[in-house]
Symmetry: D2
Subunit: 335 residues, 4 copies
Amino acid sequence: MLAALPRRAASAMPSCASAFSAAARCRAYSSAAKPTLGFIGLGQMGYPMAANLARHTAQTHSLLVHDHDAATAARFAAAHPQSASVAESARAIAERADVLFTMLPAGKHCRSVYADIVEGLRHDALCVDCSTIDVATATEIAKWVKAKGAKIVDAPVSGGTGAATAGTLTFMVGGTAADADTARPFLEKMGKNIYHCGANGTGQAAKICNNMMLGICMVGVSEAFTLGKNLGLAPTLLNQILNTSSGRSWCTDTYNPVPGINPNVPASKSYAGGFGVALMSKDMGLATAAASQTQTPIVLGAAAEQVYKRVAAEKDCKGKDFSVVYQWMAAAGEK
Amino acid sequence: MLAALPRRAASAMPSCASAFSAAARCRAYSSAAKPTLGFIGLGQMGYPMAANLARHTAQTHSLLVHDHDAATAARFAAAHPQSASVAESARAIAERADVLFTMLPAGKHCRSVYADIVEGLRHDALCVDCSTIDVATATEIAKWVKAKGAKIVDAPVSGGTGAATAGTLTFMVGGTAADADTARPFLEKMGKNIYHCGANGTGQAAKICNNMMLGICMVGVSEAFTLGKNLGLAPTLLNQILNTSSGRSWCTDTYNPVPGINPNVPASKSYAGGFGVALMSKDMGLATAAASQTQTPIVLGAAAEQVYKRVAAEKDCKGKDFSVVYQWMAAAGEK
Amino acid sequence: MLAALPRRAASAMPSCASAFSAAARCRAYSSAAKPTLGFIGLGQMGYPMAANLARHTAQTHSLLVHDHDAATAARFAAAHPQSASVAESARAIAERADVLFTMLPAGKHCRSVYADIVEGLRHDALCVDCSTIDVATATEIAKWVKAKGAKIVDAPVSGGTGAATAGTLTFMVGGTAADADTARPFLEKMGKNIYHCGANGTGQAAKICNNMMLGICMVGVSEAFTLGKNLGLAPTLLNQILNTSSGRSWCTDTYNPVPGINPNVPASKSYAGGFGVALMSKDMGLATAAASQTQTPIVLGAAAEQVYKRVAAEKDCKGKDFSVVYQWMAAAGEK
Amino acid sequence: MLAALPRRAASAMPSCASAFSAAARCRAYSSAAKPTLGFIGLGQMGYPMAANLARHTAQTHSLLVHDHDAATAARFAAAHPQSASVAESARAIAERADVLFTMLPAGKHCRSVYADIVEGLRHDALCVDCSTIDVATATEIAKWVKAKGAKIVDAPVSGGTGAATAGTLTFMVGGTAADADTARPFLEKMGKNIYHCGANGTGQAAKICNNMMLGICMVGVSEAFTLGKNLGLAPTLLNQILNTSSGRSWCTDTYNPVPGINPNVPASKSYAGGFGVALMSKDMGLATAAASQTQTPIVLGAAAEQVYKRVAAEKDCKGKDFSVVYQWMAAAGEK
């Protein structure tokens, strides 16, 4: 891909020219006023994240936003009149932002958006990609951005829409220490724990390792409780044993998939809310993709991905929290 | 079983005779003196368990012991002269014990010993099988014993030789509430937590469900740390993220398989001591056997069993703690 | 087993006596007349097998039959008046048969029947167990029988009820060469291919190895066709490619799980008939049990077992041919 | 990504101009002389394929070749002086070829080469990508090429270097029927079976479905023979049973992984030659990637990939035929 980039640079004279004029405009502008933040992708996660960012930077920064759905962008700007305004395009944000946040659904969207904006990035700009995507795409996009002289960190989040709204997300940041430090004060407006994990891609790596572990544990716990049920064990008793013994995990003591054991988790609310089984299926796919690329055998990770793909396709489970995997298993156990 | 059958045939008449006279002797005897406990199987676990039992019941009970290795039984009796004496055979213990404990390596040994002693059991005797065996054999043996009018609970333990010596084992008891209550004061001499799990076999069920969960978690954690390593993540950082997030488990916060993360676990001592990988492989086999018998699909449990069978056969891993599975995986990751 | 034990105890003396007198009667009888065959278990497979045996040995042998359902045994005897008669019990057959066939559903039934009859076996009798059971039980039962001075081979079949009726079964025989030779002329009345596989238990071993391979292949083929479908491949074209290439197997060229590819297989008849998915689930369980006992890792065998257990429990699949696993997978693929 | 292309078009005026002049040159040239074929990638597979193409089209076409290793390209041209000549770059081939073949190691190489040449492609050119890559990349590249008005089919091969040299490869072609027909006469110079599978990407789909099936089968067969060995079965006998029964597959009757069963396969030559285990691991990774993208659960395909990744990393197995998985398993079985 790097081979391709110089040519894009070479053949991009006109767009470079416009980039420079844009940069010029921008520099003039920002010397006169506040520095500019950009936010591309105002979905279920992106919207509340950008809202916290706008709220806490209104005095110090202006914020340009863009979403493939123009109405959403307009609604956001209307809700944050002090600092936010809608940009005509993602490219237009790239040409003006000092720090640019992206929050997109999957690797292919990041690939498309960054291929679109990379030519326009200001040479001193920092990109912060909060999307959860595969490590290979994250590192490839980092190469494109750095080839243009700009900076980038991957900063995927954990915590879900609740934490996004509360501003209590956990960020796992991959990039240079300097770039992570530049991003930190902004990330702290949206989250609580900020981990610098290492080079570009390691933010994504940390997230998929945690979510793979979570995904494996939840399937394992569901198997243990289903087997226990079929052997005549009361789930409450089994859970008491697991939690005072070596079978304890976050999935048993905090987010138990058996209805009624933990009061306020999705399992006790018909598996509503929480972390969708389709999202878990996607994250498990990112883990197995990273494992294929690094020739890392992950027997349980790969097996768990297949389970989530199946459960995510079951009509009784679609759209439910990933702990619904227990319901899917326990139902089959019934004779 | 082979050994058992001819004896059953050959000694059918005479042993019945002696059974009655023994019973007679026994009843006379116990009316005159202390009630009798029996303990069959003085192995690595059985010996320290029986020692605690002897120590705390010396004033109230006499203890008859038997082991296939006569020297071990003699050594035990010599060490507990106040209360313990060696019985000429397992059958002889059956004919005199009010409460009879068995601690044997596997289902086939229990099948053979109980086939041998069942005819001789006193009609008011209680058998307490502390062996970890398959649920099917446990429930079949319970039928034999009850068919003779005697009582039985399965009471497998967790905690290992350390807890056996310290008298801090956890017992998972399967049987009637009344029989579990009869066993409890004796189990409290050898352990700390006593869980009554339900009908006969549920003690074994609880143990294999916990150990299956543990076995799955440890393989999953090993995969997560190996994948993380291959993606450039420092294990200490990844562990910090897992433990403050949804990937937390007993295997990450207490018994981490990565050397140096938890100071006093086997992983930090070249995987010495702990719970042998061959024993974990055996327990995973009990889980998959119970799953086959109850038609319970356990995708991860079955996959993890295959991993432990492989690791247990590797010359660098033989005899080590089951967390050595991480070392086995991480080594393969190395390019 | 429960039923067996009291009887063994209660009837020990008298039955020994009657065993001898029975043996005496029997020896006198058989010197005077035809040698005696026995057949225990007249189920879906056993009935047509015994029928072929009766048909082809009417001139040379008398046949004693027993089934837990007395009406079935009576119906059989009525259908073969020349040679067959009903025995009052399995034990009564043991006391008189020169060659004794058993065809039972599972290991626990074999364990119970052989525990019941073993004391009564004539010292020169040959037992031929045609049941498909776990290797451990087969070898244990062989020990019991040999301890009584009688002979035994395990001789599980493949081919299903069609081949049982046609007398074209395949027998996989485990035992001494001499005992296999003694069994051969009788097995040839019921089957076409007779393989002597080695020592006791190897007949069962050969069958489970073949069926495990079959079970893995069918799941794999179902995955390949489901993935192909989801990637836009016509099943007929994919099958043409597989069959002219390295993906070919009995499951692709002879017993294809995709409806309409092979005209007369269950897949083309709504998965009716054939080899029930519950039976495949059972056989996969025998394979994983043998693998646990020999510490043999079988990653795919174990994974396939879990799939069959799940499919066997699905209401749309219950009672159908095991190739219905494709239907179960393809349905989930549908968006 | 499509979003990106118009910009590349817009900003590529100069290169377009040169493309046209090149096209002009080319058209003039080809009206005066033979049409031009191009071949990019002269590796272990590409070199003998291009050699067959050159040999059989010497009278009718000129051939331009390129390889990242200039010496290889020069050696090829020297070996085919009648028709072949070396192009200064991949881009230069694109600007002149009527039909352009690419044979590259993996998706990232295809992505890079096509990103490089796509601007230069003649509007009536047909690209034939013989590389084995992931379906997603194949379909994305097809979009780029079609956006430039050129044509493309994916045409991955099966058969290995032997078939490449002999000109007996199997091609699985994905693209329009018209484009497949245009490619056919050239593919017939290099192969024996040409399958048109459907739209762009289905050639890759067909190949990975076949290879996934093959990969699953080989692991399954290795498990069956290892379990058989551990249960006391002679491999030759087990193979005889499998091949006359339902366990038969290409892996048992043609390419058996047990040394000595099939005379001329890698397994009988210390696993030398054949299809490298690392290549099988890669192809299994393509299958699991396609399965993740289509949300298709492939329990066995995913499990088999993990096995190959492990085996490919074992020092005794590196560089050997993928059937070495049997050796890896059987060794562990040994006590």
